[in-house]
Subunit: 429 residues, 2 copies
């Protein structure tokens, strides 16, 4: 018998939430204000603000600016318990889950684990590609890029230098586009000042997308605008291009000459990790779990999935909702009130996604935004992007510090966090 | 034959500086303005502001706030070249050094590597003690403390909890005192809010010093003030107490009952790492290198040592200067002008240390400072400490952000960086 995790119990029904991303965090906050005992489990002790990972990767923001300590969010709720732990397995027959800190009983269980990088089974990218699905991975990209520039100084050979400082981004969704834009600004404004000995014509930034346009989730016009921006900024954009292999520091595609590069950023897809123990639930494309309009993971009536993990179809979204923050947050909010209804025997309300708009930024004064029928671009879209992201960040301190960082970077044309910082490892004597 | 490192050459005499701490950084900056070619070598790509490591370790400041990118400091000097590399060995007979990026020729060589933790050969502390001599090590302390609090929630056993959250600091110099003060403020103001399930009477903070008083470098009166402050703040201060062993999560001393603890912060001493290849130079206590009044490492006339590494005696300092920032900075400044004199055949000037004062802070509104005959304490000393440290920080952005962080922490009683952040490792598929 596995030990029982040491978590206080109460007479309130207990909701166990796995994952403290946008969905899990919102649900935990809303349930904390109601008559529930909430147990929130995450492998990290902080909430991560995904939309700005790319700014950590390109030395524009601190990891801490986009990370918020979980415990601080729940300080005032005495029936909410956060535990830093790994989820291992669900045991629906016992209404329990197994975790790295012992078994946890639940009345209601909510999966909000989110999605991880999808390598589509490609061994080359699993081995050598750089993913960006956590603050830690974004920080690794920052360290890797800076280390490569340091190494490039140690050679005189132009081909060797190119191999070291070329950057290939695979995947032209919002993440790939935003990374490409930020890297091209580093190449123009920051790196030449830091590395006057290097010839920056030797550095290529490549954005490769298999489908026929960037930002497939937005309108063709926005895609075209973004492609034009990126080309103007010196990014080599290749749409309708498939990466065939990445071996021996060479990227082969079906359209371009081979690209010599050690750094390949993989932003080509996401998939939902396999959830042990829920064998009766239906698993669909990309590992997503089929849920009904109440986010219930049938046939389990007291188990739910929300956010990127969940695949819910409704007439307007026959293939499910996009895997981004807004549906996750909206599902979490509705589920909080539906759980209340469920407990008091009332009828639950069906979910309907309110799409407010999409946007992506490419660089200073350059972005696209679509709000219903209104499509904007350029400075106005960029300022709007900044405003929306600033307002979505958790924590007033983070908001102030991000705003100050952005102002500083904007005025000084300088991403100042060009630091290769790692926590030291315990020395082996 | 080892390869030659790829570094541009010029007709100016080349000064190679190893280490970009207070001494190396200052020397490189001053020589950059003169007719020298400067090669600065450091294993990190950033300068580290040592006096504030303890605030990184206790979640008060960001690692990046006290780290400054080397390249930014030297952007405007085209005869100065920074290289991120490990120094391996000096070859004085060839006027060359061996490094991890190849051999580097010099006309003048300056060692400014600083000092590292001195474990006095103690295997127990090398294996399990937590040192704090770099930003990376400070970050590891932060992560370790937070992880221990998370783990403490998983048990009900009071003795087991104490073992997990007790903190023993060995060494009552400025570093130990400042850490003890900051930890006691975390214990009082921050941690109980984050961990309402824990009983904080089970957490002990121990400061153990072998000699008879804390802050041996300051006056007995300041030592007494600081000890009084710490005791009032709940720190268990044990002077004249030797740590006998740290085995199986138990600290044995010659005076106290055994202390059950997994976390032991080792701030008991520093030593200068061995320098390969300078066998003819005299190595003294703590590995320090004997230099003359021009910081020359005789018998080598074109090799110098400055800062913590150097042991220079003068009538007022028969045992050498204290291993702190001010003598390092003053030696660097004088050496810059002396190298100028040396090249133009003029007579070099002897170094004389101008002691401006010492200070240490214990917590909000509590510090001691000695400026010549003027000894102050309490709020005035504390405000003075803040001002001096703020002004010494490299980089106006760092200054603004540290000031804002301090204001925020002071007003909110909240060290907000309670994040266990690590760059992710490459996954092994």
């Amino acid at each position: 018998m596995a030990p029982i995790a040491n978590i206080p119990d109460s007479s309130f029904p207990r909701v166990v939430i796995i994952g403290g991303g946008f969905a899990g965090m919102r649900l935990a906050l809303e349930l904390s204000k109601k008559q529930f005992e909430v147990v929130l489990i995450d492998r990290n002790n902080f909430h991560q603000f995904q939309p700005l990972y790319y700014q950590v990767a390109t030395a524009g923001l601190e990891p801490s600016s986009i990370s918020f300590p979980m415990r601080k969010a729940f300080q005032k709720f005495k029936h909410t318990h956060f535990r830093m732990a790994e989820f291992l397995k669900a045991c629906p027959e016992k209404n329990e889950i197994e975790t790295s800190i012992g078994n946890v009983r639940y009345d209601y269980l909510v999966f909000a684990i989110g999605a991880d990088t999808n390598y589509f089974g490609r061994e080359d990218m699993i081995r050598a590609g750089l993913p960006m699905k956590s603050v830690g991975e974004a920080l690794r990209i920052r360290n890797t890029i800076l280390e490569h520039f340091e190494r490039a100084l140690n050679t005189d050979d132009p081909a060797e230098q190119s191999k070291l400082i070329n950057i290939v981004i695979v995947g032209g969704g919002a993440t790939g586009v935003e990374l490409a834009g930020a890297l091209s600004e580093m190449k123009r404004f920051v790196l030449p000042k830091d590395y006057p000995e290097l010839d920056f014509s030797r550095m290529g930034i490549y954005l490769i997308e298999a489908s026929e346009r960037l930002l497939a989730a937005m309108s063709p016009k926005s895609s075209a605008t973004v492609e034009k921006y990126l080309i103007k900024m010196g990014v080599n954009v290749h749409t309708s291009t498939k990466v065939l292999s990445f071996e021996s520091n060479k990227v082969k595609t079906d359209k371009t000459p081979d690209i010599s590069a050690e750094m390949v950023l993989w932003t080509a897809g996401i998939s939902v990790p396999k959830v042990e123990g829920i064998d009766k639930a239906e698993v669909l494309r990309g590992g997503r779990l089929k849920v009904n309009r109440f986010n219930q993971l049938l046939p389990y009536e007291n188990i739910f999935a929300i956010g990127d993990m969940a695949l819910m179809t409704e007439p307007d979204y026959p293939n499910g909702h996009p895997q981004v923050a807004p549906p996750a947050i909206q599902q979490a909010s509705l589920l909080a009130s539906n759980l209340d209804k469920l407990v008091s025997g009332k009828k639950m309300k069906e979910f309907h996604y309110q799409h407010k708009g999409s946007m992506a930024t490419v660089g200073r004064n350059r972005a696209v935004a679509e709000l219903g029928k209104i499509h904007i671009r350029g400075f106005v879209a960029w300022a709007f992007w900044l405003f929306v992201h600033l307002m979505s960040i958790v924590g007033s301190k983070n908001r102030v510090f991000i705003f100050m960082n952005w102002m500083w970077n904007y005025l000084s044309y300088d991403q100042s966090l060009r630091l290769i910082i790692k926590p030291s490892k315990r020395k082996i004597s």
